[in-house]
Amino acid sequence: MIPAQRDIGSLLLGDLAERLPGAVRELSRSCGECYLRVEPERLKELARFLKEQQAWQFAFLANISPVDWLTRAPRFEVVYHLRSLVFNYRLGLKVDVPDQSLSLPSLTGVWRAADWLEREAYDLFGVRFSGHPDLRRIMMPEDWQGHPYRRDFPLAGRAAE
């Protein structure tokens, strides 16, 4: 019997407590989705576990979406959206980006899809990914200054100010 999507949160927590103790801080649910808050240092290890475990097989990194909280510390958070196509599971990983380095470990070694997604996150939010093979801008022109999706970036651009 394959567990249903609504049950995977607690099952994952149990599995991770046993195999990767300390990697996950908390579990939250929203709109039928479940999210794990992950320590940045354990992110890569956890990612590889979720992808390679036969019971989960989160082989598809669907999206990487950074969040700019502006007034909060740490300011940036990155959400990784995973899918297990085999079991039809959805899972989010939330990671706080350390304010000093503004950098997270790159997941390009785990999912190839992370390459462009991390470039996008870097281009638009200025979050860096250590270990990325080619961290260039992907949306904006290469000589662009600034990161336009940051909440303190003027919508009409710097030139319009």
Partner: protein, 171 residues
């Protein structure tokens, strides 16, 4: 001379070089085949059987700018696209014309943002602005008709580089 006597009367007409040249230019305007956003869809419709731009002599969309006379800027120009658009324009042989199709190409449209060029006339000289979001094919056809009128005013005695004031077509 007996060989050619009375044999070509029906086949010759005499006129100014300008008239002949302009007639050829006006009715064989070749646009560059590229579009940037939803305006491109209307541009494609303009080519289809229902509107059939070929009736007005501008049927050959060229995938190479080196074989084209007209650039239809059909859609939103981003700052990233701008240098590419300019390069395409520079590769077109003289005389060349630009139609700014729709609100985005004309003035940035609804996108008053950091990434969108606020009017393609900041990059290339525009001959005709077509209003609309997107303009209907009829409006684009009108742009071509007006462009043909303009081409017919040209003369080889003057450089085509002398810019004529742009025309604005209201929706």
């Amino acid at each position: 001379m007996g060989l050619i006597d009375d044999r070509f009367e029906k086949n010759f007409a005499t006129d100014a070089v300008d008239t002949v040249l302009n007639l050829g230019r006006a009715y064989s305007l070749w646009p560059v085949a590229y579009g940037l956003a939803c305006c491109a869809i209307e541009m494609i419709h303009t080519m289809t059987a229902r509107w059939d731009l070929a009736r007005f002599g501008a049927e050959v969309f060229r995938p190479s700018p080196r074989q084209a006379d007209v650039m239809i800027v059909a859609g939103t120009v981003t700052h990233k696209m701008a240098p590419i658009l300019r390069r395409l324009y520079d590769q077109m042989p003289e005389p060349k014309f630009v139609i700014a199709m729709g609100g985005c190409a004309t003035a940035g449209g609804p996108f008053r943002t950091y990434s969108v060029v606020q009017g393609v006339d900041t990059i290339v000289p525009v001959d005709i602005y077509v209003e609309g979001c997107p303009p209907r094919p009829e409006n684009l056809i009108r742009a071509f008709i007006l462009l043909q009128e303009r081409v017919k005013q040209m003369t080889i005695a003057k450089s085509p580089r002398v810019p004529a004031p742009p025309i604005r077509i209201e929706a």
